[in-house]
Structures are given as C-alpha cells and as structure tokens.
Symmetry: C2
Subunit: 304 residues, 2 copies
C-alpha cells in the first residue's frame, strides 16, 4: 500500500510541473495588488497609477543541470541572467534591477567565480539591468539564482492567458539544437517583446525554455483553447529535425499569439533582424486536462 502511495507521490511521477502544482497550486495572492502570480513567466504586481506594472521573477541555474563544468565561465554568468531576462521579455517588460544568490562548493576556484560574475556584469550592462545586491552561501553544487525586477510603464504586460480562437501562433527565431552552444549565448528577446506589448500585437506570450512541445501546451492551458500546429512551418536551426525543433529545450525565443485583424500589421511592421514565423492557429476546442499528455519537452524530475 505504502509503496503505491509513495510511488505516485514521488518526484519522478509528479515531474516538475506536477511538483509546482502541488506546492504552489493553492496560492491565492491578493487581487488588489497582484495581477498574476505563480504560473506565468513572471509575477505581475500593480505599480503606481493605471498603466504601471511591476514584474518580478526568480530563476536559478546549477552545474550539471544548466551548464557543464567545461562551459566558459563568462557564458555561465550570461546564461544565469539572460534566462530571467527572457522571462521578462515574454511579458513585454523592461528590466530594472537584479539581486544574485551564489551557491559555492568549498573547493571552487575564486578565479572562475570572478569570470562568471564578469559575464553577468557584461550582460547586465548590455540590457540596462542594475546589479544591486546578493549573497553567497556554501553549497554542494555551484548554482546562481537571479531575482529580477522589471516594469511595464504605459502599457499592460502580456500574459499567457490571452489567446482566443482564431488567433495566429508565432515564434521568433529558429528552434531546436540549442544544446550545442545557443543555450549559453542566446540573446533574450527584450526589445521584440516590448515592441509587441507596447503595440498591443500579442494577445498571449511566453518564452520557449523547455521546448515548444512542453511550452505550447502551457500557453494553451492558461488560455483555455487548443492549438492547430503546422509542424512543417516550425522554423528550424541548421541541422535540427522537426522533432528536435519541437522537443529540444532552451531556445529562449518568444512564442506568442496575435488576433486575426493584427496579423497584417504585425508582419508588415516587424522591425527586427530576428525572423518571425506563423506556426499555427488557436482552435475553438476547449483544452481538456489530458492535454498535458502532449508535453514532450525538458522536465527536471521526470524519468524517461
């Protein structure tokens, strides 16, 4: 009896999403202050006045999970901050300030830590983030936690929940095969996300971190409608198969939906170097919970 119980209750059975649901599913933040809490790319709090919003995010990377011991240290620092920036980009927010927690094994090289921080600083400078504090703790494994504060001023952040039947589904850039180098060196789509949000051209948005196959169902679940995907239309990084473009994680591109009457404006007005591709449409079918069986992307805890 207890073996059945403990097996269905184990981390491997729950997976990352299941664990988060168990732990945070009942959180009901104060609606007067909080626009959206756990479950979107970032939390959104009301700021001062009608069109000011604070955006708040925590994200960690750890050795042997998000980077190998051989990864260039500067890129580790870049990745730690850029992942959180990518989540802000997915709301259309701009970053303000970050605080860093560094977990350090006792035998870690100070020179390597310094190089990691120089990478962090370069990325912070590039994207206008003030590094305003942090702490170090002893840990068995090197990790960096980035807590990031941002804002939307004069426009509303884009949530995952705004997709409606008939909306077109777009992605930026190319997907798949990111594990080679891209996952350490990617550029967070901050200007693209802000442009979409300011111009009201995205009805729902998120960033692709666990793979299209895992992330799209989350956007659909948040919005409540299914998607019809044109697999052949998924833009692929050189050498990536359709399967890889669908299942590989760490693309850090934007996945968003656009109302039918905005599609022309979007395509014509898109001012960026990065490509833009329509990969499907939101259907009229309501999402059923079994839909999660569709997920295939990266999971920290699931056994495969």
């Amino acid at each position: 009896m207890s073996s059945l119980r403990s097996s269905s209750d184990s981390l491997a059975a729950l997976g990352e999403a299941g664990l988060l649901r168990v732990l945070t599913g009942k959180w009901k933040p104060n609606r007067a202050r909080v626009i959206t809490g756990a479950g979107d790319d970032c939390a959104v709090l009301r700021g001062e006045g009608k069109n000011h919003f604070l955006v708040f995010k925590t994200d960690a990377v750890s050795e042997d999970v998000h980077f190998t011991p051989q990864a260039p240290p500067g890129w580790i620092g870049h990745k730690a901050l850029a992942r959180a920036l990518s989540d802000l980009a997915a709301m259309g927010a701009i970053p303000l300030a970050a605080v860093i927690t560094l977990g350090v094994p006792a035998n870690e090289s100070v020179r390597r830590l310094r190089a990691i921080y120089r990478g962090l600083e370069r990325t912070a400078k590039r994207y206008g983030v003030d590094l305003v504090g942090g702490e170090t703790i002893r840990a068995r494994q090197l990790f960096l936690n980035v807590a990031l504060l941002g804002e939307c001023r004069g426009y509303r952040p884009v949530l995952r929940s705004g997709a409606r039947p008939g909306d077109s589904i777009f992605v930026t850039g190319k997907l798949g095969g990111a594990q080679v180098r891209h996952h350490l060196t990617f550029k967070p789509r901050l200007v693209e996300g802000k442009w979409l949000a300011r111009n009201g051209l995205a009805s729902a948005m998120m960033d692709l971190s666990d793979g299209l196959g895992a992330d799209l169902p989350r956007l659909m679940a948040a919005s409540g409608f299914e998607a019809q995907l044109d697999l052949a239309a998924i833009p692929r990084r050189p050498g990536a198969t359709v399967k890889a473009a669908f299942e590989d994680g760490e693309d850090y591109e934007l996945l968003f939906t656009t109302r039918p009457f905005h599609v022309k404006t979007l395509k014509k007005g898109w001012p960026f170097g990065v490509s833009l591709r329509c990969i499907g449409i939101i259907s009229h079918c309501r999402v059923k919970s079994e839909h999660f069986a569709f997920a295939h992307g990266f999971d920290h805890f699931k056994q495969r």
Copy 2:
C-alpha cells in the same frame, strides 16, 4: 609561486565577506534609480514620487548549512522567508511579494516539501507577503531561495551608513544561543523596524544574522566610525555567556543607532513587548580597514 597565489585567492582565505567584495565590489548601480545596492541589508530603489522606495532582497537557506535534515519541515519554510523578512525589517520596510526557488535532490520526499511550503505559507500570511511565483530545479542539496520585494511609503528606509559620533547603539531582544531552536522559529522584527524608520528614531540599522561580533563591524564600516561597546550590557538569552551573545549568529534581532536627542523619545515611546537595550555608543574615531580583524561571527567559507 602558484601555490601562494592560489592560497591567498582561495575561498577559505577570502571568507564570505572577502568573496562578496571580490565579486560585487565594483558594482556601481545607476544613482538615479538606486539608493543603495550591494552591501546593505537590502537594495533600495526609488519608487514613484519623493517618499516611495522599493526594497529588494534575495536570501537562500540550504540543508546542512542553515538547517539539519531533522529540523521540522514547517520551520524550514518559516526560516527561509523569515530571514529575508528580517532584512526588510532592518530597513524599516514592509513586505509586498515573494518568489521562491526550490532546489530539490532527486530522492527528496514530496511530503516533506509540501510541509516546508505550508510553513512558508503560514509565515507569508502572518506578515502580509503575497507568494507570487517560483520554480523548482534539480540540485544535489535541498535549498530554498527567497526573493522578496517590499516598500517604504511616506518615509525613508534606514541604511547601515547613517551612524554618527555620539549616537547610542541599541539592540532588540536577547542575544546568543540561537542555534538551539530560535534560529528556526524567530519572529522577524518588522513592526519594530517600521516604527523606528517611520518615526525617524534610527540613524543606522541592520539585523543580526552572523552574530554581533561580525555584524556590528559592518555597521561601523558602512558608517565610517568605531563603536565603544559595553559588553556587560549585551542582553543575553538564558544560559548564554557574554562570549556567546557576542559571537553566536542567527539572533535576527535589530541592531541600530539613535541620535543623542532621540534617545529619551525612543525609550519612552517604545511600544513593543520585545526588550530594548543600549549596548554602547558610536565614537569619534574613524574606522580603519584593519578593523575587520575584530569580526568573530559566523562565516560560510572561513576555516577556523
């Protein structure tokens, strides 16, 4: 040659404060936006209007460093959040929202994690914190990182740097011997900190987390003046020696200074159950850098 170099450059030689100095010492945040960055209890950002400030903090606890495997899980959750709240208290700020990163070993019990989160939720409710998001990552060691956003509205946060010669040095509560149980169950001094800040009665303030012997020198270094301490006046928890009250960490009491002409108002007006004790005075001597030799509290990396 390289052995000398690497030894003076090792974590053990640097210690926690030294490592933070190496990593963050050159951070120069944008003064238009940031009032204080790395080096105080929290970062302080300008909010909207003249008397609104955002306060931002990250803090992590990990197994075998901040709690043992035997610690009641609810208390682990409490401690993770209460430590960050104690840092907000030390600025006189009130908490708004928190996001949590959970690092989980693959064989961790889901039941234990749930109990940790119930403790976190109880403490969040008690102190008016909205839990608005988080994530879980695989890790070799259980850890919780709390990123906390708070504010001061209508008054200025109290920094570590405001102590001046002649100011009296106060502590709340009793010190020493916290490792028995207090370090898991302490109450962050939020109402006391806010009262001191709102009423302009603290010229400098911090919370005691690494022990008076380690923390007081930090306040002195930030303010630029030395302290004359009356060791016999240090309030001690039952059973604690003067040495323990001076050196033990994890008191989570407030350490603050008060201008001479405010001392009477402070003592007469103090409306709280927790005790208040004057333990010394800020001297006219400027802090010299060797002063750090005086530090005796807990350090994550120093060999002893």
